[in-house]
């Protein structure tokens, strides 16, 4: 019999029961909650007179709606009354059921996908779900993690299980040495460009190969985070020493004897040598350049050295029309140099790129420099209160502020603009977030997805520049 993939193992370990049509009941070890997708689930629970199955598996924090400016007044300081009600509703639901929540002024508050790993609430071998598609992030720890809808949030609260169907296995093997200035974000954007925004639909993607092994846990989280932008609900990286070192000593991580026992079990969280994947994609690390998206889907991406594509050269009519529509929305011309795109704002943050390593990379680029005078705003939003504290201990906040950037409180912020941080119509933004959909960062806003270093370099120049020119200079 063929060996098992990492995904197969995680699936088998959590199988409660299986039906003849392939649908199964899967046990959930960790349920993360935030304010946007949970209120209707709690309401459903109450209406049906049901109770949460296992309170201790739930962990909540408000992130989407919170302002990133002064919040010393707590939840009452959220200006938008509808946002305030949503955050208060999360507080009330967590209080009434006894669910652990890091509230708006808790030092541990932050973006739920930054908080989970930071607290050790995400552990190798777990099933992790959250009413948020970027739950794929947690797969960096060899955890089976994916986003769910609100009905499923209610289902997990009530039963500790999900009705699931097994996905297919895809291996994306990245081999070779990444070039100077090429980061995890560039790797995942390149992968999405290769397989397309629906290329991973129906699959759990395992990212493997020596390049992935060489990338830090923060970088692996960035890569798994964007598996969903390639259509895959699940992104995975096998356990190695980096995984274990990252988890050790974190507040929710196992201690003493249980730690030893857990580490022994986690060694098995790798795909077997003879495991069979339904699809394998080979990527050569040397083919990856710093990436910039030019369109309104993450697959509309190109190296910073490239030109904006010309729809006239496309034969597929659906693709051609999509490109024409995207260029119209983005206000770009075919064959325009990507480095000629002038920017209005820069956003460094989001569950993709707001961890300490991301902030270090950005700070290294802007240190001693000033953001371009043509820029309206350059925002730096740390992923959690603890990331913020660490960055300040390292003096990164001062570097950003001296460069003319704004140093903010943690949250999702301008990634999806549910709080006051947003783009104006027609504005171009270099953003370290994950989606460049129409209107995503604000009505009529134009998003270009890049790495933190590329965003920082663009902030200084006022337009995109090849980070490799800056680093080598």
């Amino acid at each position: 019999m063929a060996g098992k993939t990492l995904y197969d193992k995680l699936w088998d370990d959590h199988l409660v029961s299986e039906n003849s049509d392939g649908s199964a009941l899967l046990y959930i070890d960790r349920h993360l909650l935030h304010e946007v997708t949970s209120p209707q689930a709690f309401e459903g629970l109450r209406i049906a007179g049901r109770k949460p199955w296992r309170i201790d598996t739930n962990l909540a924090t408000p992130d989407h709606n919170v302002q990133t400016t002064d919040r010393s007044g707590g939840v009452d300081s959220i200006v938008d009354p509808i946002s305030r009600i949503q955050v208060k509703t999360l507080d009330e639901n967590c209080d009434s059921y006894g669910i652990t929540e890091f509230k708006i002024n808790d030092l541990r508050q932050g973006i739920v996908h930054v908080v989970g790993p930071e607290q050790g609430a995400t552990l190798p071998g777990m099933t992790v779900v959250c009413g948020d598609s970027h739950t794929a992030t947690h797969g960096a720890f060899a955890a089976l993690a994916h986003g769910i809808g609100t009905s499923e949030v209610e289902h997990v609260l009530a039963t500790q299980c999900l009705i699931a169907k097994k996905m297919k296995n895809m291996l994306i093997r990245v081999s070779g040495k990444l070039g100077l200035g090429v980061t995890a974000k560039d790797v995942v954007l390149h992968v999405i460009g290769v397989i397309g925004t629906a290329g991973g639909t129906g699959y759990a993607i395992e990212f493997g190969g020596d390049t992935i092994r060489s990338i830090s846990m923060e970088g692996r989280m960035t890569i798994c985070n964007m598996a969903i932008e390639a259509g895959a609900r699940v992104g995975l990286v096998a356990v190695d020493q980096k995984t274990i070192d990252y988890v050790k000593g974190r507040p929710f991580a196992p201690k003493a004897e249980q730690w030893e026992q857990a580490v022994a079990a986690w060694q098995n969280l790798v795909s077997d040598e003879d495991a069979v994947f339904d699809q394998i994609v080979e990527i050569n690390a040397e083919d990856i350049y710093p990436q910039v998206t030019w369109g309104t889907s993450p697959e509309m991406v190109a190296p910073v050295t490239a030109l904006v594509p010309d729809p006239a050269e496309m034969t597929d009519p659906v693709k051609r029309e999509g490109t024409e529509r995207a260029l119209h929305y983005m206000g770009l011309k075919p064959n325009q140099k990507i480095t000629d795109i002038q920017l209005d704002r820069v956003f460094i943050g989001s569950c993709t790129n707001s961890r300490i390593e991301d902030l270090r990379e950005a700070a290294a680029v802007v240190k001693g420099k000033k953001v371009a005078s043509t820029l309206k705003q350059a925002l730096v939003v740390p992923g959690s209160g603890l990331v913020k504290q660490q960055a300040e201990a390292e003096g990164l906040d001062k570097i950003f502020i001296e460069a003319g950037m704004e140093w903010r409180e943690p949250g999702c912020s301008m990634c999806l603009a549910m709080n006051p941080d947003k783009l104006g119509a027609g504005e171009h933004c270099a953003s370290t977030s994950n989606r460049n959909f129409e209107g995503r960062q604000g009505f009529g806003g134009r998003t270009h997805l890049v790495s933190p270093a590329m965003a920082a370099a663009a902030a200084v120049a006022g337009h995109f520049v090849d980070i490799r020119d800056i680093i080598s200079a």
Partner: protein, 212 residues
């Protein structure tokens, strides 16, 4: 959950690929703590010429006359014809809620994003997958014939064209059963409470750190 058995309705064509959930229901409407009332903001940025705000009276807003759902011939549509990878992006169940609240009961497309696909079934909204070539021919038929209607028979798993031609589609047995009977997943899962407890007892032995 609303049952889905047999449905006949007017078809509206949304001719673009990769329709994302931000397009279906923009973020400012996700601040609601309710499940209903999202219909007036379905496709808000495509449908209106101004920027929509939550709790706004949409009847006074300027409509985009070029947007397909604003065209007189598609008023009252209940079947949405779409292109590949419909519903990509976020996990927001507000997307199927908005479609359902607007009056859409079924979608026909060559493919869907996984989370959206899954969320639709939980809300009595049937996402039907047909071959790209078949979907193409339906786009042509809808555009050529004003008032074009389709009938969907879930029991038989067919879409029936006005001339009586049947287009077969696949659906998981369990999802079909739940839709036909309007069943609540949670109630069904709780019937397996003993199996869940047994799993927990055995997992507690092999991975005690998950229970401490």
């Amino acid at each position: 959950m609303k049952k889905f058995t047999l449905h006949e309705g007017l078809v509206a064509p949304l001719d673009r690929a990769n329709v994302d959930t931000d397009m279906i229901i923009p973020k400012q409407f996700l601040k609601s703590i309710k499940r209903s009332g999202f219909g007036p903001n379905l496709f808000d940025e495509l449908r209106y010429l101004d920027e929509g705000q939550p709790d706004q009276d949409c009847s006074q807003r300027p409509l985009n006359p070029d947007f397909v759902l604003n065209k007189p011939r598609y008023q009252g549509c209940s079947i949405l014809l779409a292109r590949k990878n419909f519903g990509c992006g976020s996990s927001r169940e507000h997307a199927p809620w908005a479609l359902e609240d607007f009056g859409i009961r079924a979608i026909i497309a060559p493919s869907y994003a996984d989370i959206f696909f899954n969320n639709s079934f939980k809300n009595g909204l049937l996402p039907i997958i047909l071959d790209e070539a078949v979907v193409d021919s339906l786009f042509q038929a809808v555009e050529a014939n004003e008032g074009y209607q389709l009938t969907i028979n879930l029991e038989k798993q067919v879409v029936i064209k006005p001339d009586g031609t049947e287009l077969a589609f696949e659906i998981d047995a369990f999802r079909k059963h739940c839709l036909l009977n309007g069943l609540d997943d949670i109630g069904l899962t709780l019937e397996q409470a003993d199996a869940i407890r047994n799993y927990e007892a055995s997992r507690r032995q092999t991975a005690p750190w998950l229970f401490s």
